[in-house]
């Protein structure tokens, strides 16, 4: 029962990939294991914490005998990474131990019977669509960073995917800032759908998406689960239950002061100002007047910083304080030349978006100017 031969480096790569499905906090020890299944010429690897994430991947192997076993993810990863390059054979016996044989190595790793291993259930009647890996990565890069890490409001730790017809809205907010990206799907979905997806599977997805790949990524969403299929890998998760915040009402419309600034220049200025601002909750004060924007920061302990940039300004002069990290997060996610900042007052939210892309917007709430 269960015997395969494969290459060390492929095994290590795949084991590392699926081991991200292990949370290490599972109350059931077996869920800290990787499930291995030898079938035909494939080895299927699965790990899941049964809640936030499940990762499943397939690799081509020479399978001598079909079968299943589970072994601790950490041990298997440690070992696979340390074996020398070359063929590795894995074989399990009735006593549920996995024999791993490399060029000069022989290991017997204690496992647990695969029957007890739980996997995320199959999706029930999902809404499905696909897009290029580059597009999906772009959507995630521009939104997921804005999710909250505050576990007391689970809804906000997730990213909303709202699909209606051909339109996909992706939204994330931690109540201080909100990122919204609108994109168009290649074709209409069978049924409109909303899903709030935890950060973990999305971060893992960002890791495996290849913007140069030709093969598209598939997205399947059911009432309570989501699955992303990329190449031979499936990343799944249970959806976060509940109603997402009423985000359209916080998107400002009346910004009468419009600043256009070079992204690169603003990013470097903020980066430098942070040296000081870090000591004051990352606060920087932006002042736009005429053709200049000054970015300043002040801290009792460190000192003061002031950066001057050339801008174009429509409307009256403006002053507002923002969290510099929040601005840099957004600037890091876009590759446009110019950024548009629309402001109304020092205590009202500002609207930031790439000058050449109306589909992406970032709403940022100010900090008080003391």
């Amino acid at each position: 029962m269960f015997s395969v031969t494969c290459e060390q480096h492929t095994l290590y790569e795949k084991v590392q990939l699926v081991s991200r499905g292990v949370s290490g906090r599972s109350t059931q020890p077996i869920q800290n294991n990787i499930f291995l299944q030898a079938a035909a010429d494939n080895l299927i690897l699965v790990a899941t914490d049964m809640e936030f994430i499940g990762v499943k991947t397939t690799m081509a192997v020479e399978a001598a005998e079909e079968g299943t076993i589970t072994v601790p993810a950490r041990i298997l990863t440690d070992l696979a990474g340390r074996l020398p390059p070359g063929p590795v054979s894995l074989a399990a016996d009735e006593s549920n131990s996995l024999k791993i044989t490399g060029k000069h190595s022989d290991f017997d790793i204690r496992g647990l019977p695969a029957d007890d291993f739980q996997q995320l259930p199959e999706l029930d009647d999902p809404t499905s669509f696909s897009m290029t890996q580059a597009d999906l990565l772009d959507i995630l890069d521009r939104t997921v960073f804005a999710t909250s890490t505050d576990e007391t409001r689970p809804i906000l730790t997730g990213t909303l995917l709202k699909i209606s017809g051909k339109k996909l809205e992706t939204v994330a907010t931690d109540t201080y800032r909100l990122a919204l990206y609108e994109s168009l799907l290649a074709s209409e979905v069978q049924r409109d759908q909303e899903a709030i997806i935890s950060r973990r599977p999305l971060v893992e997805l960002q890791r495996i998406l290849d913007p140069d790949a030709e093969e598209e990524a598939e997205i399947h969403i059911s009432q309570n689960q989501v699955e992303f299929v990329v190449g031979g890998t499936v990343i799944g998760s249970r959806l976060i239950d509940g109603q997402f915040v009423n985000y359209p009402k916080v998107i400002p419309t009346g910004g009468d002061k419009k600043i256009t600034v070079k992204c690169d220049e603003l990013a470097s200025a903020l980066d430098r100002a942070l040296v000081v601002a870090r000591q004051d909750a990352y606060r920087v004060v932006l002042r736009a007047k005429g053709e200049t924007l000054t970015v300043s920061a002040k801290s009792q302990d460190v000192g003061e910083a002031e950066e001057t940039l050339e801008i174009s300004l429509e409307g009256d002069e403006a002053e507002i304080a923002f969290n510099a990290e929040f601005m840099l997060d957004m600037l890091g996610a876009i590759d446009s030349e110019e950024l548009l900042i629309e402001l109304s007052g020092p205590l009202n939210s500002g609207l930031l978006r790439p000058a050449d892309d109306e589909n992406y917007l970032y709403v940022l709430m100010p900090m008080q100017i003391m």
Partner: protein, 388 residues
Amino acid sequence: MNKRIIVHADLDAFFASVEQAENPQYRNQPVIVGRTTGRGVVSAASYEAREFGVHSAMPMWQARQLCPHAIFVPVNGELYKRYSDHTTQVFLSYTPRVEPVSIDEAYLDISGTEKLFGPPLEVARQIKQKIKGDLNIIISIGLSSNRLLAKMASDWNKPDGLVWICDEQLPDVLDELPVCRLSGIGQVTQQRLSCMGISKIGQLRGIPLELLEKEFGKLGLHLYKASRGQGSAEVREYQDQQGRKQVSEEITLQQDSRDLHYLRMRLLSMAANLARRLREQRSLGKTVTLKLRFSNFKTITRSITLQHPTDNWQMMYKAAEELLDKMDLGAQRVRLVGLGLSNLSDGTGVSQLSLFDDGPVQAYKLDRACDQIVERFGNGAITQARLL
């Protein structure tokens, strides 16, 4: 002054260690913390990642090349601050002289704590254990008679180090160390020293003061002293670094009273005054303290710490009222009421407004509008209706 015992505590690979503590699946894995999108540099690398040559301040793309299988994590400042604050609290349980110099480093003066906590090395071990136990992160500790040496000691045996440089070992113990290990010596100074044929601290000590001063100006004296292991041993008290301590007000009632409504109105009026004073000095208070003195002159105080620091009278009054309601006055009459705001800050970490809750913005606007009215028309021009 008695011989001082200075501790330098340095949290090892701090951001990366916190991520590993928070995410058990990251343990024993190379973890790289930094801005993961766009133009970013490495903020911290776990020791597993350092084995691949990754170090902080390295561009992210380079780190990815050196260690493609690492776990890349975005910077989570709030989380690291929480961990850092906790370590400061641990330090403060041994000595009030704690001077944080950055989020992951602090100096402590533990002179004279022997009777309470045991010999210095024992204190250091306790601190290491407590931090490991509470937070599951490791810390390197150096002990010596001044800050310069304590820092070198903590650097000696990282990670998880514990080194004491005693005066008896001086100055020979420094001889073989590279000069860059002395604080205040950057790349430029190091290069200039190297041109003079000096790479080790022992060699630096051989140079006369006049020559160093001629070559390096003011820095010369520092180099001269540092190469002999001499430096400042002053560690400021933690409280003194936290700025103005508190604002408070108290009034002796015209007649002793146990009329709760009357007491509440006095508190309301004091809260309004204190809030205005805080706004004037541009600071925020986090701890509200209520003080009552009874007819028999017995005095009690009760405090509550708010979730967020504030300069808003409503928040203060609500807390004061809550404190008053919890006290059982019984038959006692109150002679004096006091209200205080402490734990003051300059607004750090509080003033981020929320997209979905405009309460704080409204309160902020209202308070400032009232301040302007008072400024123009004088005290009493506008006040809470309940006080009329």
